[in-house]
């Protein structure tokens, strides 16, 4: 635990996760949402969501369109403010934290649409997240590592606009990983990609998870892709957690099959 974290935990004004409170010790829970609600006018996109991610876990988030998957990720990153409920990260209540402060704590996100900077080169795209915390040789090393993690060696000086859609997805994962996060949130990272490109992204995700110990939450519709990478799967339906478990159990669950076909579940 860093000195900053020690200050945060000892600060009585900062709420801590129930698990930490009950035992007085830290658990392995990296992220926990507690009764998270998000309403847009009369529409409830997140309906009292209790969702947890353990350290180093690779969890996929599935569910039919409109289930609230992207909303949940945007609540976690701070893009949306919740109507009710709390978000705890590494023992700290981050519900009111600004997006950039969540990034500093170790939460990183890749958006659904590739959000690379078209006018910047691959190296400059990766430099942007790195330059906040690294200088000199360390910066150069981290930029190189992120380019390797993205699988874009040899493309360093190419403008991002010249990359293929798949390479842009790879670059964005490299940019998100360059932030040195503990938790990486990916919103449909293989949408619109070829089979080969999907496999490339899957390899990069599993390598970052296993070698760098980064926990992942991945939104994805393709169950074959999910089965290839995920430890655990969470199914969202109508803004709330519907099922959680290994992909084999989830895939064979009739209630899950039913909601994908447009039913009410149970």
């Amino acid at each position: 635990m860093s000195a900053d974290d020690a200050d945060v935990v000892s600060d009585p004004d900062i709420r801590q996760t129930p698990a930490v409170k009950a035992t007085g010790e830290r658990t392995d829970t990296l992220l926990q949402t507690d009764g998270l609600v998000k309403q847009f006018g009369g529409f409830t996109a997140a309906d009292s969501v209790d969702f947890a991610v353990e350290e180093g876990e690779l969890r996929c988030l599935i569910g039919p369109n409109g289930a609230g998957k992207s909303t949940l990720l945007k609540l976690i990153t701070g893009k949306h403010a919740p109507t009710e409920g709390s978000i705890y990260y590494d023992g700290t209540d981050i519900t009111d934290f600004e997006p950039q402060d969540r990034v500093k704590r170790g939460i990183s996100m890749k958006f659904q649409v590739p959000s690379v900077y078209n006018d910047l080169s691959v190296r400059e795209n990766v430099r942007l997240p790195v330059q906040r915390f690294a200088t000199g040789e360390e910066r150069a090393r981290r930029i190189h590592e992120a380019i390797v993690a993205a699988g874009l060696e040899g493309y360093e000086d190419v403008p991002a606009s010249s990359l293929s859609h798949g390479q842009q997805q790879q670059l964005e994962i490299g940019m998100a990983a360059a932030l040195d996060p503990d938790l990486l949130l990916l919103d449909e990272p293989v949408a619109g990609l070829s089979v080969e490109e999907r496999q490339g992204i899957a390899d990069r995700i599993t390598r970052l998870n296993e070698e760098a110990g980064i926990a992942f939450v991945v939104i994805e519709h393709d169950t074959d892709f999910v089965a290839g990478i995920a430890d655990e799967v969470t199914v969202l339906h109508q803004g709330d957690v519907f099922r959680e478990g290994p992909i084999e159990e989830i895939e064979s669950d009739p209630a899950v099959q039913k909601i994908y076909l447009g039913g009410e579940g149970e």
């Binding site: 990153t77 893009k79 997006p99 990034v103 990183s108 959000s115 330059q131």
Partner: protein, 328 residues
């Protein structure tokens, strides 16, 4: 030969004037999407601060010019935090509102705004024009009330250089050099520094920049301060050669806006190309038909540019680049 020299001098003079008039405005517009109609008055702040630093404080002219730019950058930061981003008033209101609500009867408390008082003016072109136009009126009248209708000007340094029957102000030649150096400096800042990287990222997509840990508010504040500082530097550099009146900023506005419109979104390339093109047009027409027709030619060029190059020169270049990329 002498007329060619005359023409070259006029071109350099126009180029320097346009670059220096437009640089600060282009940065603030290009990066923040804010049209600063008080740009001329930021130049006024730099000019007055420089003049007063020489006359009242006794600083040597170069130090006074630096002080003029720094004072204007500081002033710009205050304007950004209060008017453009609204962060200052919102901070005060956030603390005042609960106390007012508690002190007032329920019915009165219910009409108090519960959220932020001011929404940031970033990328709100029309709103930013109204707000900064109001600011410019306040600044001109404020300067008139505090300093009167004019203040004493500082002397023009360096004297003159002569060629045959013609003589030129050496200081104006120095200004041409400074304008080129300034373009180089702005290019360096936006291409190689950490701040420049952040600013270029924020221009393209501030949501992603935030997701990558960039404090976009701080980047916007720094950008406004930098743009203001450059406007202040323009005022400082022209303080020895223009009349020190509260309305002096209006002399720069036409060239500044025409250059930004013609140049397009790219700060350095747009400003450099439009200053070169407009400088050439203005100097040729001024040289042949007088200053009045020089300005008419400048404005006609702006109208034609708006009609045929709505994205400016750099917008056109970008379109051509994209087409070539698609074809390849």
């Amino acid at each position: 030969m002498a007329n060619w020299l005359n023409l070259a001098f006029q071109f350099l003079d126009s180029f320097a004037f346009i670059v220096l008039a437009a640089a600060g405005l282009a940065i603030i517009f290009g990066i923040m999407g804010v049209i600063n109609l008080a740009h001329g008055e930021f130049i006024l702040v730099g000019a007055y601060a420089t003049t007063l630093a020489v006359k009242a404080v006794g600083l040597p002219l170069p130090a006074a010019m630096l002080a003029g730019a720094v004072v204007t950058a500081g002033f710009g930061l205050v304007v950004e935090r209060t008017i453009i981003s609204g962060a200052g008033p919102n901070w005060v209101w956030e603390r005042l509102e609960p106390r007012l609500s508690a002190a007032l009867p329920d019915q009165a408390a219910a009409v108090l705004p519960s959220g932020p008082l001011i929404e940031p003016l970033y990328d709100r072109l029309a709103d930013s024009m109204v707000a900064t136009f109001g600011l410019s009126l306040i600044m001109v009248q404020g300067a008139r009330i505090v300093f009167g209708n004019s203040i004493d000007q500082v002397a023009t340094p360096f004297g003159e250089v002569a060629y045959g029957a013609f003589s030129y102000s050496a200081y104006r030649l120095v200004l041409a050099g400074v304008s080129v150096a300034l373009l180089g400096l702005v290019y360096y800042v936006f291409t190689y520094t950490d701040y420049g990287m952040r600013a270029r990222a924020v221009i393209q997509d501030d949501r992603t920049a935030r997701a990558l840990g960039v404090n976009t508010e701080r980047t916007y504040a720094a950008t406004f301060a930098l743009g203001s500082g450059l406007a202040g530097l323009t005022g400082a550099l022209f303080a020895p050669v223009i009349s020190m009146q509260p309305t002096l900023g209006s002399q720069f506005l036409v060239e500044a806006f025409v250059a930004v419109v013609v140049g397009g979104a790219s700060v350095v390339l747009g400003t450099a190309l439009s200053a070169a093109g407009l400088g050439a047009i203005e100097s040729v027409f001024s040289n042949q038909y007088g200053t009045f027709f020089g300005r008419i030619a400048l404005l006609l060029t702006a109208i034609l540019a708006l009609r045929f190059l709505p994205g400016g020169i750099t917008g056109y270049i970008e379109r051509v680049r994209k087409r070539r990329r698609r074809e390849s």
